[in-house]
């Protein structure tokens, strides 16, 4: 694990200390612009901002999840770039990736929270059994997910909910929601929450949001569901390459008819592209190789709330469709600046936090099972 305190060197200085040339840096900025879904004309501005950026401390909490989101991130496209972005943050706590375990791991989390109070980012994957659910449904080091979440976000600058489970409840919350699963934004009301939905999310989108924070020191502009507009501002349908067939009324009716072979629109096979906002159509999957619709399967709508309960994946969406494409919005300019001033006030409070939380007891477990 990296040292919990943010190093004082700027990113530009530390990259040069690692032998990265100025052309290499320019290339990094070009790739970062793509990753943030910003226009290529922003590259010089990104270069100027990254030159001055400092590494933020990141605490990653995993709750009721399948580890698919972490898999997505660590299997992501462009290893050099992803590694660089991950090197640019100080990942101080992550169950699956950290070497430490048990008390040492929990101590690392507390140390990072204390050293960077008011400035660190919390990334959450997985949903959380709510305050009224049995706390024993999901625990970390004997403590309920709810307690760990609330304790960790208290002095955070912002929370990034990665994956549909953390963002909207996801699979654990699907009917009948046996664990009383709730999303991060259901529970965290006094901190900025950024939702990076998807089951799993596109890896470039996860690192793109981190890169945005790193570059601009600010959170990206968000949509009504708290998702970054740069990635979720347009529907799959708006950017789908099969769209010309939709507009001409040419639809595949089965998975093996002429329409399917010719690459026609998958709307009648249940494509949820028209009601789904995500970056798959341009960022694609598996090292940019392809994406579900290019592989011939309709979009399931995995980045939308309640998509598991939305009826059959193979029934056409019943909403009336309009053809007006949304304008591509540029992130970066807007968004509130976070961290900084609250940091000093928050620092001394962190130490006391873990004294207040109690482990889940056998009685509690038995009471509500």
């Amino acid at each position: 694990m990296a040292t919990p305190k943010r190093p004082d060197k700027t990113l530009g200085e530390s990259l040069r200390a690692h032998g990265l040339s100025r052309r290499g840096f320019l290339k990094l900025c070009a790739a970062t612009a793509s990753m943030m879904a910003l226009p290529a004309s922003m590259v010089p501005r990104i270069a100027a901002a990254l030159e001055q950026a400092k590494r933020p401390s990141v605490i990653w909490l995993s709750f009721q999840e399948c580890t698919g989101c972490t898999e997505s991130l660590t299997r992501s496209h462009a290893p050099t770039l992803e590694n660089l972005i991950l090197d640019m943050v100080s990942l101080d706590y992550h169950h699956t990736l950290q070497a430490a375990s048990g008390d040492a791991a929990e101590a690392a989390r507390m140390t990072a929270m204390e050293a960077n109070a008011g400035e660190y980012l919390v990334v959450v994957d997985g949903s959380i059994p709510g305050p009224d659910a049995n706390p024993g449904f999901s625990t970390v080091a004997g403590h309920s997910n709810y307690d760990i979440l609330m304790e960790t976000v208290e002095h955070a600058a912002a929370v990034i909910a990665v994956g549909t489970c953390a963002a909207f409840g996801g699979l654990p919350q699907a009917k009948p929601n046996p664990t009383g699963a709730m999303s991060v934004m259901d529970l965290v009301k006094d901190k900025p929450v950024i939702n990076v939905s998807g089951c799993p999310p596109v890896p470039m989108v996860i690192t793109g949001v981190l890169a945005h924070y790193l570059t601009f020191g600010a959170l990206p502009e968000l949509d009504g569901y708290g998702r970054p507009m740069a990635f979720f501002g347009q529907s799959i349908h708006d950017r789908c390459y099969r769209r010309p067939f939709y507009d001409k009324g040419l639809f595949a009716e089965t998975f093996d008819d002429r329409g399917a072979q010719e690459g026609w629109c998958l709307y009648r096979l249940g494509c949820k592209g028209p009601t789904t906002y995500n970056a798959c159509a341009t960022m694609k999957w598996n090292s940019g190789t392809s994406w579900p619709i290019e592989a011939g399967h309709p979009c399931l709508g995995c980045s939308e709330p309640s998509f598991w309960d939305g009826g059959s994946f193979y029934e056409p969406v019943s909403v009336p469709l309009t053809a007006n494409a949304r304008t591509l919005l540029t992130a970066g300019a807007a968004g509130a600046v976070v961290g900084g001033t609250v940091a000093a006030v928050a620092k001394h409070r962190v130490k006391k936090a873990d004294a207040n939380r109690q482990p889940v007891t056998i009685e509690e477990l038995e009471k509500k099972l």
Partner: protein
């Protein structure tokens, strides 16, 4: 250079897919965008960069676009953070800049409308350091301090 690298040397994605590219009609509007950019460049000198990896292309669309643009005389390679391949298209002032990582995976693909793509130009801070570097080498070779002008 190993043969496998040579095959990947082309900016075109044609090598990545089997069979003849199909058209989904999404490349043509980009050609119009390039035309506007080129016109601006000719009239005002304003440069443009277009991120081709952010385009909603279907299979074959990118190949169609690069085929339309053709291949020009200049090819260049920059070795920094993995290879970056620069290819002039048959249209003067229109360049393809293919940023790859050390594993040859594409980081992003830009189209630049400019006299020379940005990544080929020496960076201003590097130019500032260049004189000092050269002086140091001269001093080492001749044992004298070069005259400053």
């Amino acid at each position: 250079m190993p043969e496998s690298d040579r095959a990947k040397e082309q900016p075109s994605a044609a090598q990545d897919c089997q069979g003849a590219p199909r058209s989904f009609g999404n490349a043509f509007p980009v050609l119009n965008e390039i035309r506007h950019a080129l016109q601006r460049f000719v009239q005002t000198g304003e440069e443009t960069r277009i991120d081709l990896s952010a385009m909603p292309f279907g299979p074959g669309d990118l190949d169609r676009l690069t085929d339309w643009l053709g291949t020009g005389e200049v090819q260049a390679r920059v070795d920094a953070l993995g290879p970056t391949r620069v290819q002039e298209t048959a249209i003067a002032g229109v360049w393809l800049v293919d940023y790859r990582n050390a594993e040859q995976q594409r980081l992003t693909l830009h189209l630049e409308v400019a006299s020379v793509p940005e990544i080929l130009r020496p960076q201003p801070q590097d130019l500032a350091d260049a004189l000092t570097q050269l002086d140091a080498r001269l001093e080492q070779a001749t044992g004298t301090t070069p005259l400053s002008s």
